[in-house]
Symmetry: C2
Amino acid sequence: MTQEKYMKVALAQAKKAYEQNEVPIGAVLVIDGKIVARGYNSRNKSHDATAHAEVNAIRKACKKLGDWRLENSTLYVTLEPCPMCFGACLNARVDKVVYGAKETGSQTPNVLNGVNHKMEVVGGVLQDECADLLKSYFKSKRT
Amino acid sequence: MTQEKYMKVALAQAKKAYEQNEVPIGAVLVIDGKIVARGYNSRNKSHDATAHAEVNAIRKACKKLGDWRLENSTLYVTLEPCPMCFGACLNARVDKVVYGAKETGSQTPNVLNGVNHKMEVVGGVLQDECADLLKSYFKSKRT
């Protein structure tokens, strides 16, 4: 139930992205049961290729804690992370990544293969809600 | 010779990092023979796990051009990129990555395996100069 609780917070972030005409992906970073930072995809608005939900949440958390090491942290994100975002989690020493919808053509096994920092990855939490939001966004773009 | 010319610019950035007590890695982003942005690792100073040389250069270039797509661009970096930075290059549609020193335990083949955006990768340009700067930094930390 805890995973669902935080995924709902990530979903609320994804909805903010949707409202701003961005691909609706949201993330939340949690340490010891406390939300440290939230983030949502802002690639279009910021013109920044690195401004994915996960990187935005990680950067805010680092700034807030004054440390690039986010130890004992879990990142919740509505979509399976891309290689950049998994790499950012590894660099920030994130312990665990929990994602909602699965990415088509996932690179997860490739990216996590052979890295030193061990990071647990759990997928499929509130999968339908997370996927539906993305489907709704892309459908609205086609009509 | 062109590759060496830009790698020297990246090396100058790496030296700035060294002077600021950061792991000395530098990067430069070039489009149509023009330097669009320079960056150096600022992880310690900024307390930001994502503030690698490559991401810093990419973010600056995106901001300068007002576009998250850095088309026809080449990124020169003094050390073989980590998965996050390769992922950032892919997300920014960078055409080509040229790096200097090779990373021990490189994840490059894993990260680039099966991705949609095709990106050329060339390693070993001014390899010794790039590696020597890193060795000198880590040696200074041990004494």
